[in-house]
């Protein structure tokens, strides 16, 4: 899950995304992979995350039968693999601690007093 890792923080989930810059990359669609991934993710936070990155095409709820639709697969694929948070932050919902994302790389290193 998108959760925070600061000492004492129990749930810290999900990290909220603050998007400053989102880039899109073309990735080839792999239906078998997507179907497998679908069973492993929590849909609601996933939808919220993609909305925070400016993509609002995903439905609020989804079930596995929808994977038969090419249109749905395409959207799921796009949100999962083609949207990249280039600049921004991941914010711990409990403490407000911000983990900066620079050049697409989140920095999750903790300060000494947080370990």
């Amino acid at each position: 899950m998108l959760s925070s890792n600061i000492k004492g923080v129990t749930s810290g989930f999900p990290l909220r995304i603050e998007a400053e810059k989102v880039v899109e990359k073309q990735v080839e669609l792999n239906a078998a992979f997507l179907k497998n991934m679908f069973t492993k993710i929590e849909w609601k936070p996933f939808v919220d995350a993609s909305r925070a990155m400016g993509y609002a095409e995903l439905p609020d709820e989804a079930e596995s039968s929808m994977l038969e639709s090419d249109e749905f697969l395409q959207k799921f694929h796009h949100a999962l693999l083609e949207l990249h948070l280039e600049e921004g932050a991941l914010v711990c919902p409990e403490t407000g601690r911000r983990f900066l994302v620079n050049k697409g790389i989140p920095n999750m290193l903790l300060h000494e007093d947080e370990v």
Partner: protein, 236 residues
């Protein structure tokens, strides 16, 4: 892709320009890296169409080798931002997608709630994976961990984490002199359901640091394949 071709592509990668001794940054040579991933793919099917994480990825050699062999998604974790920059350039040069997260794998271990925090750290890579349970999504971990010569136990800290994260297999290099200890610890303490040395390799260590007296040293390392217990990921 043929083994030779993989090895030669990996040979083009940029390596540490300014290696940091305290992190035991030694490049994973193309010879070893290509054999490690080639075996993982061709003998065990642990790479293509899988999510692969490279722990302590450094310049990204192992992760990129996984990408070249058809991994669906590759994630590199390292504590050092300079290494991640080089790894990112290497990925661009090979025209491969690889995600990176800056985090400290070793630190996690020293904390009481290691699993929770690891989980968390891994999830940060969700910048593009949305809110995936990364603890569940990683199929295979590949790594060339610090051998623990500078900081005792660093190699096993990595192994412990890797076995918590991978759902399918962990490939790792450890000094041959530590073979019995690695095996015992993996099976007894880290919940591995199997721990197998696939082969013994010569790790040619170029003279990187001032304290190295010889120009080049060969050390014997084992290429391991560990299988985590299936139910373990549920505890993440």
């Amino acid at each position: 892709m043929k083994l030779k071709q993989l090895e030669s592509l990996l040979g083009t990668l940029q390596q540490f320009s300014n290696p940091k001794l305290e992190l035991e940054q030694y490049p994973t040579g193309p010879h070893i890296a290509s054999r490690m991933l080639y075996t993982a793919e061709n003998s065990f099917g642990d790479v293509s169409d899988k999510v692969v994480a490279d722990f302590g990825c450094g310049c990204g050699t192992l992760g990129l080798a996984a990408g070249l062999l058809g991994a669906e998604h590759v994630i590199g974790l390292d504590v050092d931002s300079e290494s991640l920059e080089i790894a990112s350039i290497n990925a661009d040069d090979l025209e491969l997608e690889m995600d990176f997260v800056q985090c400290d794998i070793r630190n996690l271990i020293q904390r009481g709630n290691a699993t929770t925090s690891l989980y968390t750290q891994l999830v940060s890579m969700s910048s593009e994976l949305g809110t995936l349970h990364v603890g569940q999504i990683v199929d295979t971990v590949v790594m060339n961990p610090p051998f623990g010569t500078r900081r005792k136990g660093a190699d096993l800290d990595f192994l412990s984490m890797a076995l918590k994260v991978a759902s399918q297999a962990v490939y790792s290099l450890h000094k041959t002199t530590t073979r019995d200890h690695v095996k015992r610890t993996a099976l007894r303490d880290y919940n591995a359901s199997s721990a197998e040395v696939l082969c013994e390799l010569r790790y040619d260590l170029p003279q990187l640091y001032k304290f190295h007296k010889k120009k080049e040293v060969d050390i014997a390392v084992d290429l391991w394949r560990f299988v985590p217990q299936k139910n373990q990921r549920n505890t993440l």
